[in-house]
């Protein structure tokens, strides 16, 4: 019989991904309702120093799969490692992050295990009657929500960043670390990673910025960018974008906010010349305050924002920047 909730914790060198806390927080609630154990699994190479943190976050057991073949994420290697490890652990629920790795690993692994996965969930619960996992996720680009369930095991879900509350770390929590041996051969890995290239813009990371100034298609070109950049600097914030600026190469894809870009939860999100499509809002609706600048009073962004100005950014931005400078004395 499958038992327990297992969290896939992504190793980042000797550290773990910041999402681990959110996933363990979500997993703990489910495990408590089921009256079962919360465990974590870390897959990679030279990851052994990570577990203490994961135990402080609530995992009773931390399974570690450590192999030189797992140094970089490669689909074939990770799917096979997880398939073998899950065969030994036999969990009934497996949670992963909706991240670069989770997006690729979760579906392929679910098909390998002849079970299913619900991607990008923002709410998880246990059905009181059936004890099955209820997976709630935005669909149709965020225009609707759906609740799914299935009975094949393990029940898998990926979780949207910043949608779950992390549990406070408690260093007095106890847990054990269990190495898991898997059999991986280089010949199993059919892809070859040639190189990894970073294209991030300099400065504060989008996910960590307290203020984000984001531009949309209506900014039409690089000139407006200078102004946005100046505004972002005033707030020590970052510049984000909707998809069209990325498609037009005005800004690297690492700065895209939305369903298929980054999920951000800054204090302030200033959306300039962005219409507020559901796919864009999927990435920023968790911002504490949204401010919109748009020349179209009917734009959907005004249904999502807390404050707004109707007008052309070419007139609005310079005056706004001047006033902010005056108010902040910079």
């Amino acid at each position: 019989m499958e038992k327990g909730v297992l969290i896939f914790v992504e190793a980042q060198g000797a550290n773990v991904s910041p999402m681990a806390g959110e996933l363990l927080g979500a997993g703990k609630k489910l495990a408590d309702v089921l009256g079962e154990e919360l465990a974590a699994i870390i897959v990679g190479n030279q990851v052994a120093s990570s577990p203490p943190e994961v135990i402080a976050w609530g995992a009773k057991k931390v399974y570690v799969v450590d192999d030189p073949i797992l140094k970089d994420y490669q689909t074939d290697a990770y799917v096979s490692a997880m398939e073998q490890a899950l065969g030994q652990i036999q969990p009934q629920v497996v949670l992963m992050g909706q991240t670069e790795i989770g997006r690729d690993l979760a579906p392929r692994l679910a098909f390998r295990l002849k079970t299913s996965v619900s991607m990008d969930c923002t709410e998880l619960a246990i059905d009181p009657q059936t004890k099955l996992l209820l997976q709630s996720r935005p669909v149709y680009g965020g225009n609707a929500r759906a609740v799914f369930t299935f009975s094949t095991k393990p029940q898998m879900a990926t979780v949207r960043a910043k949608s779950m509350e992390p549990l406070a770390k408690d260093p007095s929590r106890q847990g054990e670390t269990i190495p898991i041996k898997v059999d991986l051969k280089p010949a199993q890995i059919r892809t070859r990673l040639v190189k990894r290239v970073k294209e991030e813009v300099a400065g504060i990371k989008l996910e960590e910025a307290r203020v984000i100034v984001a531009c949309g298609r209506g900014m039409a070109g690089a000139e407006g960018f200078k102004q946005l950049d100046a505004l972002a600097r005033l707030f020590k914030g970052a510049v984000g974008a909707s998809r069209p600026p990325v498609d037009n190469n005005w800004i690297p894809s690492s700065q895209q906010v939305g369903l298929t870009g980054k999920i951000v939860t800054p204090e302030v999100y200033i959306a300039v010349a962005i219409s507020g499509s559901s796919q864009h809002m999927a990435g920023c609706s968790g911002a504490k305050t949204i401010v919109a600048v748009n020349k179209d009073p009917e734009a959907n962004i005004f249904k999502e924002a807390r404050f707004g100005v109707v007008g052309d950014w070419k007139q609005v931005l310079p005056a706004f920047i001047e006033k902010i400078k005056e108010l902040t004395g910079s």
Partner: protein, 266 residues
């Protein structure tokens, strides 16, 4: 080069959010009147990825779409863009499929089509935003997959794929046969030229029923689902936006800054 591209017909994801309606009794989306369905946007880019390889190296591009009551000029768009063949898995039995039953039927159809070097899918369909069917087809067929590509080139029996990562991209090499899912960073799909549209209008798609791909109707569509949809609903938004006005846009902008300071937002 033999290439296969999977494309899905979906309600237009760029239709105004206000036109989006759900029938909560049936857990189904009510198609907005007068808004024509489209090909899921990433799937058009998957077609584009295949056509770019065809332009460079020659070859054949076969497009496959699964559904029921598919609108002919929607699903024929890849033909108009330059694809060679269109196979429709079209039957009531294919309705309401989930990621599993879709991937299974598409994989069986691809097996029937036969020899291929590369399969292309979109990174996710814009209706259910699942992002699973590509990886699922690859797993069922037992071939490697590379997801979320922004560039695909081929040489010496291999594809070189640039895949989008959270902070840039990585380059991955994969031998044929393989499956690649395509993201918007690939760039815009080409327009169909008039000549292509005329040729596509004359071309008849091949239509397959479950029996044609050697599967039982109970294995596909709603009957073949592994997941159950319990509920589909529209979240209520009670947003209220304070529009800051002024004598002119510049004045409004200055007042906005003041208002944000007053509300302790900045």
């Amino acid at each position: 080069m033999n290439m296969i591209v999977c494309v899905k017909q979906v309600p237009d994801p760029e239709a105004p959010p206000a036109s989006f309606k759900v029938d909560s009794a049936t857990n189904k989306v009510i198609p907005p009147p007068g808004v024509k369905p489209v090909l899921s946007p990433f799937d058009e880019q998957a077609v584009e990825a295949a056509l770019r390889i065809k332009d460079a190296k020659g070859g054949k591009v076969t497009v496959v779409s699964l559904g029921n009551n598919l609108v002919r000029d929607v699903v024929k768009k890849p033909l108009a863009m330059g694809a060679d063949e269109l196979v429709l898995l079209e039957d009531a039995a294919f309705e309401d499929s989930d990621s599993w039953s879709t991937a299974f039927a598409l994989a069986m159809a691809i097996r029937k089509i036969g020899a291929f070097d590369l399969i292309f899918c979109g990174r996710q369909a814009s209706d259910w935003d699942a992002g699973q069917v590509g990886s699922g087809i690859a797993e069922i067929l037992g071939i490697p997959s590379v997801t979320i590509a922004r560039k695909v080139t081929v040489a010496d029996g291999k594809a070189l794929v640039e895949r989008v990562t959270s902070d840039g991209y990585e380059e991955v090499e994969v031998p044929f046969p393989a499956l690649v899912t395509v993201s918007n960073e690939l760039g815009e799909a080409r327009y169909a030229a008039l000549k292509g549209i005329m040729a596509a209008a004359k071309k008849q798609p091949i239509v397959w029923k479950p029996a044609d791909i050697g599967v039982n109707p109970s294995e596909v569509g709603a009957a073949g689902r592994r997941t159950r949809l319990l509920k589909l609903f529209q979240p209520v938004k009670e947003g209220k936006c304070e529009i800051v006005a002024g004598e002119n846009p510049a004045d409004a902008a200055a007042k906005l800054a003041l208002r944000l300071r007053e509300a302790k937002v900045i």
